[in-house]
Amino acid sequence: MTDTSAETPIAELEEMGRQIRVLVLEAVAHAGAGHIGGPLSAADILAALYFRVLRIRPDEPDWEDRDRFVLSKGHCAIGLYAAMARRGFFPIEELKTFDAIDSRLQGHPDMSVLPGLDMSSGSLGLGFSAALGMAMGARAMGRSYTTFALLGDGECNEGIVWEGAHVARRFGLDNLVAIIDHNRLQQFGWRGATPAERTSPYEAGELASRWAAFGWQVEEIDGHDMKAVVDALEDARDASGPVAVVALTTKGRGVSFMEGSYPWHSQVPDPVELRQALEELGMPDGILGRSGR
C-alpha cells in the first residue's frame, strides 16, 4: 500500500468528510455516548489529513518515518476513529465498539491499545505539548517527518498551549504544524445575550494574532473549503518555522439542527434525530447501518 494519498482529488476528500460525519453520528448513536459537535467541525480537516496530507502506511502503522498526528482535542476521538477506519487502519465495523467495554476505541484516544494512534490525549492542551516533543525528537534524530496537531479553539484557553508555542518558535521547529479547529463554541463557554447564546472562545482574528504574537507563521482559512485546507496543510509542511493553521469552522457542521448549537457538543441523537441528520447528509441508510445497526 502506498504511504501517501497525495493524488486524492478534492471531490473525493469532500466525500470522505461527509462519510466521516455519517460514521460519527452512527457510532455515537450506537454507543449512546460521545461527542458530535467537534468531530463534525473537524471532519473536513481529518479527511484532508488522512486521505491526502499525512504520509502514513495503514498496513504498517509503526513505520518510523511516518508523519505524526496528535488529536490534541481528544474528545473528538470518534472523528479520528472514523477517519482511521475509513483509511484502513482497522475495520469500519469496529466503530460499533466505540466506548464499549474492552474496546480499542476508547472515549478519548488511548495509544496503548490502538495501533496507528500516535499519542493518547483527552486532558486538553497536553497533546500539543506531546506533538512538540515529537517534532523535537525528529530533529534530534535527523528524521524528516512532520508532526501535525489538531487543537480546539476552546482548548487554547489552556496555558500549556502557550508554553509549547513559546519554545516551538524558540527552537525554530519547521516540522510542527498546529491546526486550530476554530468552531467558535466550547462546551459551555461564556454567556451571550441570553443563556442559550454562548460566545466564541475568541473574537474574530484573535486566535490568529495570538499565534502570530508567539512567533508562528499563521494562515487563517475556511476549514470547510477542502482545497483551502489541503493547500494550507501542504504549504505548512514546507514552511521554515512552526505554522498555525486557524481553520474557521462550524460546530456541528452538516446537520442543520446541530450547527452552532452548544448542547450538541456531547448530546446523543435519538433515532428520529439520527434519521434526520443522515438524510441531511445525503446518506439516509448510513454506513454502519447497512451492516445491521
Binding site: D110, A135, G137, V167
Partner: protein
C-alpha cells in the same frame, strides 16, 4: 559517629547521564530552568545538542518529554520534586504513566532540605503521589553508588519512572560490590530487636541512629528500600518476622509514603506493630538544614531518641 561523605547525589546523577548519553544517542535531558541547581548544567556542557532548555514551564516540559519518548528517545527531566510532581502531574498522568512511556522524571531537591527555600519548594508528598500513579516506578536512592546504578537501570527499564533525589546529603552506604536492582530492598544492618525501614538519604541517618542505639543495648535491623514501587513486599515481611517490631523512618510525610507502603504490606502478609517516623501532616518551612532535621525529628539523634522512646513505651 561521623558518617563518611561521598558525592552529592545530583552530581552523580548528571555524571551518569553524561556517560549514558555518550553510549546511547536516545538519551536526552529536558530542563525547567534549574540546571545550575540540579546539575544538569554539567550535562549541557558535555552534550549541548542533547540538552533541551524548556523554560519555566513544567507542564509543557513533561508533555514534550512524552512526545520525545513516543518517537523513541529516552528523556530525563531536570526540575525540583515539587514542580515535577505537583505542577506537572497531569502530563505525567495522561501522557507518560497511562501510555507507559519511558520518561524518567527526576525530582531533585525533594524532602525537607531544599536550600532555605521554604514550603513552596519542599516536597514531602512526592513518594505518596508518584506511587499512587499507575505504572510508575519510584526510586529513592540512598547514596552515590546506588544513584549511579539507579539512573542507569531506569534509563533502560521500559516505562515511566520517578527518581527522588535531594540537594543535601552525600552519605556513603554501599561499596562497589553493591548491585542495585529495581524493586529490591537490601538489609544494610543486621539486628534482632527491631526492624527499621528507611529509604533515600534518610537511611544513612537511620544507620547512624542504629549505632547510637547499640550503645543503649538496642539491636536494630535496618532495611533500606530504595524502590518504593514496585515494593519489595517479601523483604519487608521477612524483616518484620525476624524482629516482630517495625519502625519506618522517611524524609517524607508519614502519610502514604514508605510507612504507608510498609503498613499496607504487613497488614496483609505479616500483621506487626508499626510506628512511622517522618514529617507530620503539614508543609515545612525554611531554615538551616541541621535545624530543620532537628526540629522535624529526622536528625540521627532525634531518630534514635524517638525509637528508644517508642520501644520503652512498648
Amino acid at each position: 559517629m561521623t558518617a563518611a561523605v561521598g558525592k552529592a547525589l545530583r552530581n552523580v546523577w548528571a555524571e551518569t547521564l553524561i556517560e549514558l548519553a555518550a553510549e546511547d544517542p536516545r538519551v536526552v535531558v529536558l530542563d525547567g530552568d534549574l540546571a545550575n541547581s540540579t546539575k544538569a548544567d554539567l550535562f549541557e556542557q558535555a552534550h549541548p545538542e542533547r540538552f533541551f532548555q524548556m523554560g519555566i514551564a513544567e507542564q509543557n516540559m513533561l508533555g514534550a518529554a512524552a512526545g520525545m519518548a513516543a518517537v523513541g528517545m529516552i528523556p530525563w527531566i531536570s526540575t525540583f520534586a515539587a514542580f515535577a510532581v505537583s505542577r506537572a502531574l497531569d502530563p505525567i498522568r495522561v501522557l507518560i504513566a497511562q501510555p507507559g512511556l519511558n520518561v524518567n522524571v527526576t525530582g531533585a531537591y525533594s524532602g525537607l532540605l531544599a536550600g532555605k527555600t521554604g514550603k513552596t519548594h519542599l516536597s514531602f508528598d512526592d513518594l505518596a503521589v508518584m506511587r499512587a500513579l499507575g505504572k510508575m516506578t519510584v526510586v529513592a536512592p540512598g547514596d552515590e553508588t546506588e544513584t549511579r546504578q539507579a539512573v542507569r537501570a531506569l534509563t533502560f527499564d521500559e516505562g515511566p519512572s520517578y527518581l527522588r533525589l535531594t540537594r543535601e546529603g552525600s552519605p556513603v552506604i554501599f561499596d562497589d560490590a553493591y548491585r542495585f536492582r529495581i524493586g529490591r530492598a537490601v538489609t544494610v544492618r543486621e539486628g534482632g530487636d527491631v526492624t527499621l525501614i528507611s529509604t533515600g538519604v534518610q537511611t544513612a541517618r537511620v544507620l547512624e541512629a542504629a549505632g547510637t542505639l547499640e550503645g543503649a543495648g538496642i539491636d536494630c535491623l535496618v532495611l533500606h528500600v530504595p524502590t518504593i514501587k514496585p515494593f519489595d513486599t517479601d523483604a519487608v515481611a521477612e524483616a518484620a518476622a525476624r524482629t516482630g517490631r517495625v519502625i519506618t523512618v522517611e524524609e517524607h510525610s508519614i502519610v502514604a509514603g514508605l510507612g504507608g507502603a510498609v503498613a499496607e504490606t504487613l497488614g496483609a502478609l505479616h500483621p506487626t506493630r508499626i510506628d512511622r517516623i517522618g514529617l507530620p501532616d503539614g508543609f515545612g518551612e525554611s531554615g538551616p538544614d541541621d535545624a530543620l532535621l532537628d526540629k522535624y525529628g529526622l536528625s540521627p539523634q532525634r531518630v534514635a531518641d524517638a525509637i528508644e522512646g517508642l520501644l520503652q513505651r512498648g
